[in-house]
Amino acid sequence: MADESLFEFLHMEMVSHVFTEQQSSKGEMDNKDRAVCISVLEAMGFRVGQGLIERLTKDSPSFKDELDIMKFVCKDFWTKVFRRQVDNLRTNHQGTYVLQDNKFSLLTQLSNGKQYLDQAAKYLAFSCGVVRGALSNLGLESVVTAEVAVMPSCKFQVVIQKL
């Protein structure tokens, strides 16, 4: 079946394409353009996350509660998508979760410290979308953001939206 590196190459090229396209219309990229690119990538990730979670959970029983869903995302879902489990899950038990992955697969090829820290956001947008899409199809609307202090470790913050 499709090799892991193929996805990584495709993802790199997608990020590059989205940013180049936005830039070609003007000379410089301002923050608004960057935000547009990030949201385009996030939206793509959203659709992929929705599809993936459907495939993954079609035969499993329903989840007991929100925490159960988050644990599933941290273990099974993360393993299937990013080939490892989340290293640390923290929550305030009021709808906010922080998922920490110390060796995030889409960042390992970029650097091993502080180099390219400012570029990391581009490479996390798609993954944030994947998580948001997965949660959405499990019945949880959320806002997912990611931050990186030291590559390749990153923290995904998930805030569940209460209706």
Partner: protein, 180 residues
């Protein structure tokens, strides 16, 4: 324990689904961004080219294949090693031209197009055109200029997916002036 073994076979399949779904999201986005299919085809080819020029390094590092002696050997390596390694399928190599510079790769099933149907208003879209760019880019890095096209596509109603590859010329390595 049985869950464990499920996971290994599942994880390979899942990677394929991740790639297939991501590719689908990409094509959808490109269709939104560009007005016509021709432009989307071109963008897919360009992106494929950019991937191909990097993929070849990954391939050469992992496959320990040496230099191919001729185009026939290249065709075999592409079908039996490269496609197998990256997409898990082995297309067949057929339809050689009399001059030996053109051949077809026949794919029984195309992992990029799993779960995909083309809507009616996109019948000139070459959905898997990324593959053409990848092949073109990868071969250019090993000094071969080739032309790669889809001759048949199951998404457009054909029985099989056929990629036609034509050897154009050998690319001479250009040494910077003053060397050798």
């Amino acid at each position: 324990m049985s869950r464990q073994s499920n996971r290994t076979t599942d994880s390979k399949k899942m990677n394929s689904e991740l790639f297939t779904l991501t590719y689908g999201a990409l094509v959808t986005q490109l269709c939104k961004d560009y007005e016509n299919d021709e432009e989307v085809n071109k963008q897919l080819d360009k992106m494929g080219y950019n991937i191909g020029v990097r993929l070849i390094e990954d391939f050469l590092a992992r496959s320990t294949i040496g230099r191919c002696q001729d185009f026939r050997e290249t065709a075999d390596v592409i079908a039996k090693v490269a496609f197998k390694m990256y997409l898990g399928i082995t297309p067949s190599v057929t339809n050689w031209s009399p001059a030996g510079d053109e051949f077809s790769l026949i794919l029984e099933n195309n992992p990029l197009a799993d779960f995909v149907e083309l809507p009616d208003n996109h019948n000139t879209l070459i959905y898997s055109n990324l593959l053409c760019g990848v092949l073109r880019g990868a071969l250019e890095m090993v000094q071969m200029a080739v032309d790669v096209k889809f001759a048949q596509d199951t998404l457009r109603g054909d029985n099989v997916t056929e990629i036609r590859m034509k050897f154009i010329k050998r690319i001479e390595e250009n040494l910077p002036a003053g060397e050798e």
